[in-house]
């Protein structure tokens, strides 16, 4: 074989391996995100007004394309406290108008984001995102991804505005806890 061929073979192999390795890592990250969403449901308190009735489920809305959605399906229907967890995936904004306790906006709907929050005047929504500045623009929790870990930021003022009670444990685990100052709300 010519050296070039060897190099090519190895290159593609590496890419393949790298891809595989990367895939594994990717999957892990998605899994972690899913776990986080689930955990948020556990560590955040919604007041009774957030629900239609005492039997109403705890809705986790995934708006747009959410890759880790399949992992959340595993916990769909489990009990969080007294309520059932309900995972709702939709691309339609109207569906959201029924009310979500947790809302995750996929990447494809990112562009809509700045207006999005002004459009949705719901309260009691735990908004979770995964991009820079998410919490600065009205989001409550932002999931960050570092080299080996998944972490999150919390904007407590936004949380309070939404009428949510965040567990102190949760807050203590956040990488960053932000507050809204007068500058930010402009």
């Amino acid at each position: 074989m010519s050296p070039l061929k060897t190099w090519l073979v190895m290159f593609f192999f590496c890419v393949f391996c790298g891809n595989t390795w990367a895939d594994i890592q990717q999957e892990k990250a998605l899994q972690a995100k899913a776990i986080f969403i689930y955990n948020f449901a556990n560590f955040v308190e919604w007041p009774d007004d957030a629900f239609l009735s005492t039997n109403s489920p705890l809705k986790v809305c995934l708006y747009g394309s959410v890759p880790f959605g399949i992992f959340l399906d595993a916990v769909n229907g489990t009990l969080i406290g007294q309520r059932q967890l309900m995972v709702v995936r939709t691309a339609n904004i109207e569906t959201l108008e029924d009310g979500c306790q947790i809302l995750f906006v996929g990447q494809d709907k990112r562009a809509q984001l700045p207006d999005f929050w002004s459009n949705i005047k719901y309260v009691y929504v735990l908004s979770v995102g995964e991009q820079e500045g998410f919490v600065d623009n009205g989001g409550v929790i932002n999931i960050l991804r570092t080299t080996d870990r998944v972490q999150f930021q919390i904007n407590i003022s936004n949380a309070l505005e939404q009428g949510l009670f965040l567990s102190s444990d949760l807050l203590s685990l956040a990488r960053e806890v932000k507050r809204n100052t007068t500058k930010n709300t402009e």
């Binding site: 776990i35 969080i80 406290g81 444990d169």
Partner: protein, 692 residues
């Protein structure tokens, strides 16, 4: 009554063993009981404490676990290793926590912390049981707790706590319990040592008292009551028993005394009867012997009269004299036998004036004396006695006849005087005298003594025996003193109670007597100028005569020697006797005198106290007193008074005829013995022996 309150330790082997044994038992009981109690208490306490401590620790660790779990749940949820590690590290700040392990949802060890790694216990790599539990593993308490939020379990927390501290604590407590037990036991031991005394001492004391009573047989001892408990009651019972025994013993003594006296009496009477029988026989023998002679003479005279009728006148005279002799003898015999009868029916109450009698006899015998060429003196005494007149006469006559018969020169004296407190009639003669070796037999065998006499013996044997018998019947003492070749004196002693009247005697009665006694046996016999008949070389009245007494007739002396030593306990003991009743006083003083006690007799409290003051050295050893002395005086007052005077308590006996129970009780209470009238000699004697 003595108390046996001994405080010295006697070396009875039996006692020592007994002493140790009881004390040992007490100690044993107390120490064992205490030890057992302490052991049980300690054991219980130790076990209880251990359980409690373990429970406490468990609760403690469980609480810690809960707190840690709560703190860690978020971290576990979000898999934040750092926070989890930190939380677990915080566990080590608790001393007893040795190790903490946190497992994730799948049971894998997520984080752990260990104080000092050792091989006994370490975190498992895998732990699936998410339950709340605790267990003991290798001296570690292991608590597991699920880490959960709401319904979601994120992992399991396991904490292991070191139980060794618990064990140390338990050992500590055991140690302390042991020490405390030992100290308590020691204290108990010491206390018991001191206090067992109080239990054992009364028992010991009782034991000693019992031993003493057994060894000395003195039942008047009483044991001392030391404590007020069952032992005290035992002492009371014991004393009660002794009292009974003492009472029984006293009764026994009384009975024995009475029996002895009765025995003596019977012996005496038997001997007397025997003697009388012998006497009677002898008398008969003598009578037949004496009567033979006149009869013989009469036979001879009659035959002479037949053969020599010319001498009839002379012979008839002689015959008459013989008849006269026989008549006398018969009369004497008859009179003696009738006297016996009279004594039995107590017809002895003639009042005889000795003065008159002596005058009469003087007149009568003066002639005889003149005829024989002998001197005859009569020493008169103006006394009157109560007796059988003719018998008294016969006695004196017989003695005089005897004296005249056997005296060839010198003279005869008939005297009457007081000697040694008794009235006596004496017949002195300077006749043949009687040899010492036959003196005893003079009265006993009625033998005619003079073998080499010139005078024909004419019934002297019978005569003397009659004298003796008569004296006996009249209750006189007769005695004889004699020196062979020099002379004799026959003396009759008349007891005081037969005396009706005495010549006027001054108060210093005794002095007179003493004077009398001094001249005693130097009586002038014979014609004036003849030598005095001095029969007693030593003229001190109470000394023994040189000659032995012959035929002293008081038989009781012979029998007294058979009284056992038991009865001599009263000899020479000094006693006061007080009674206002003369007869009782006399009778009692006689009785006490018989028992050879040194008696002082008084008729009133005043005379008694007078004596006490005058002779303070003569301290009585006992007081016998009537209860009622005079109108107002009481015997008890006298006893108390004497007690004060002599500064000591004198044992006393009170004689009373009273039946008043209250007074008798009070007397008993004061420790004075009481005797009811009439007094039984046996009882009096026993009581006196008791109190002395």
């Amino acid at each position: 009554m003595q108390l046996a309150g001994f405080h010295s330790h006697k070396n009875f082997k039996r006692n020592k063993r007994f002493y140790r044994s009881l004390r040992y038992k007490l100690m044993f009981i107390i120490v064992v009981a205490l030890s057992l109690a302490m052991f049980i208490a300690s054991l219980f306490f130790v076990l209880y404490d251990r359980k409690e401590a373990k429970n406490d620790l468990q609760e403690h660790i469980q609480a810690i676990a809960k707190i840690t779990a709560a703190r860690s749940v978020a971290a576990m949820a979000f898999l934040d290793q750092g926070v989890v590690d930190q939380n677990l590290k915080a566990l080590l700040s608790i001393e007893t926590v040795h190790m903490g392990c946190l497992y994730n949802r799948t049971g894998q060890l997520f984080s752990s912390v260990t104080r000092e790694p050792n091989t006994l216990i370490e975190c498992y790599e895998q732990f699936d049981k998410t339950i709340e539990a605790f267990s003991e593993v290798n001296r570690y308490l292991v608590v597991t707790l699920p880490v959960a939020k709401k319904n979601t379990v994120y992992g399991t927390l396991m904490i292991a706590a070191d139980l060794s501290q618990l064990y140390d604590r338990m050992l500590n407590i055991i140690g302390i319990s042991l020490i405390v037990s030992l100290i308590s036991s020691f204290i108990a031991y010491v206390l018991t040592m001191k206090l067992q005394h109080r239990l054992v001492k009364p028992i010991e004391s009782l034991g000693r008292a019992a031993d003493y009573v057994t060894s000395t047989q003195d039942y008047s001892i009483r044991a001392e009551r030391i404590s007020d408990d069952e032992v005290g009651q035992l002492v009371d019972s014991f004393n009660g028993m002794l009292r009974r025994i003492e009472g029984a013993q006293d009764q026994l003594y009384e009975m024995v005394t009475e029996l002895e006296e009765q025995g003596l009496n019977l012996k005496y009477h038997a001997q007397r009867s025997e003697m009388h029988r012998e006497e009677t026989q002898a008398m008969l023998a003598a009578a037949s012997h004496d009567l033979k002679q006149p009869l013989q003479a009469m036979v001879m005279f009659v035959s002479a009269m037949r053969s020599e009728p010319e001498k009839n006148e002379e012979l008839i005279d002689k015959l008459e004299r013989s008849i006269e002799n026989m008549r006398h003898l018969f009369t004497d015999l008859m009179d003696v036998s009738s006297l016996e009868k009279r004594v039995k029916t107590k017809q002895l109450d003639d009042k005889v004036s000795l003065l008159e009698l002596f005058d009469h006899l003087e007149a009568e015998y003066q002639a005889v004396a003149l005829q024989k060429g002998l001197a005859f003196n009569v020493k008169k005494y103006d006394a009157t006695i109560i007796t059988h007149a003719s018998t008294l006469q016969r006695i004196i006559r017989n003695l005089l006849d005897n004296a005249f018969r056997y005296t060839y020169f010198g003279g005869i004296t008939l005297a009457c005087r007081m000697k040694n407190g008794a009235l006596c009639i004496e017949v002195w003669d300077t006749g043949e005298g009687i040899r010492r070796n036959v003196l005893d037999t003079v009265f006993k065998e009625f033998v005619q003594v003079s073998v080499d006499s010139k005078v024909s013996s004419q019934g002297m044997g019978l005569g003397l025996s009659i004298v003796k018998r008569s004296c006996e019947l009249l209750d006189y003492t007769i005695d004889v003193k004699s020196k062979y070749g020099r002379g004799s004196v026959f003396r009759i002693l008349i007891p005081l109670d037969r005396i009706d009247k005495l010549p006027e005697v001054k108060e210093s009665h005794k002095e007179n007597d003493k004077e009398n006694d001094k001249e005693s046996d130097q009586v002038n016999v014979g014609q004036p100028g003849s030598k005095t008949l001095n029969l007693e070389e030593n003229s001190a009245p109470s000394s023994q005569p040189e000659f032995e007494d012959g035929g002293s007739v008081h038989q009781e002396d012979v029998l007294k020697t058979s009284i056992s030593a038991f009865f001599n306990q009263l000899t020479n003991k000094r006693v006061f006797l007080i009674d206002d009743d003369d007869s009782v006083r006399d009778a009692l003083s006689l009785l006490l005198g018989q028992w050879e006690m040194d008696v002082r007799v008084f008729n009133s409290i005043a005379t008694c106290m007078e004596f006490a003051k005058s002779d303070a050295d003569w301290i009585p050893q006992a007081i016998v007193s009537d209860y009622q002395l005079g109108d107002k005086d009481l015997g008890t007052d006298l006893i108390k008074g004497l007690g004060h005077f002599y500064q000591q308590e004198i044992p006393a006996l009170v004689i009373t005829g009273m039946e008043d129970e209250a007074t008798l009780e009070q007397l008993k209470h004061e420790g004075i013995k009481v005797l009811r009238k009439p007094v039984k000699p046996a009882k009096l004697r026993t009581l006196l022996q008791n109190i002395l």
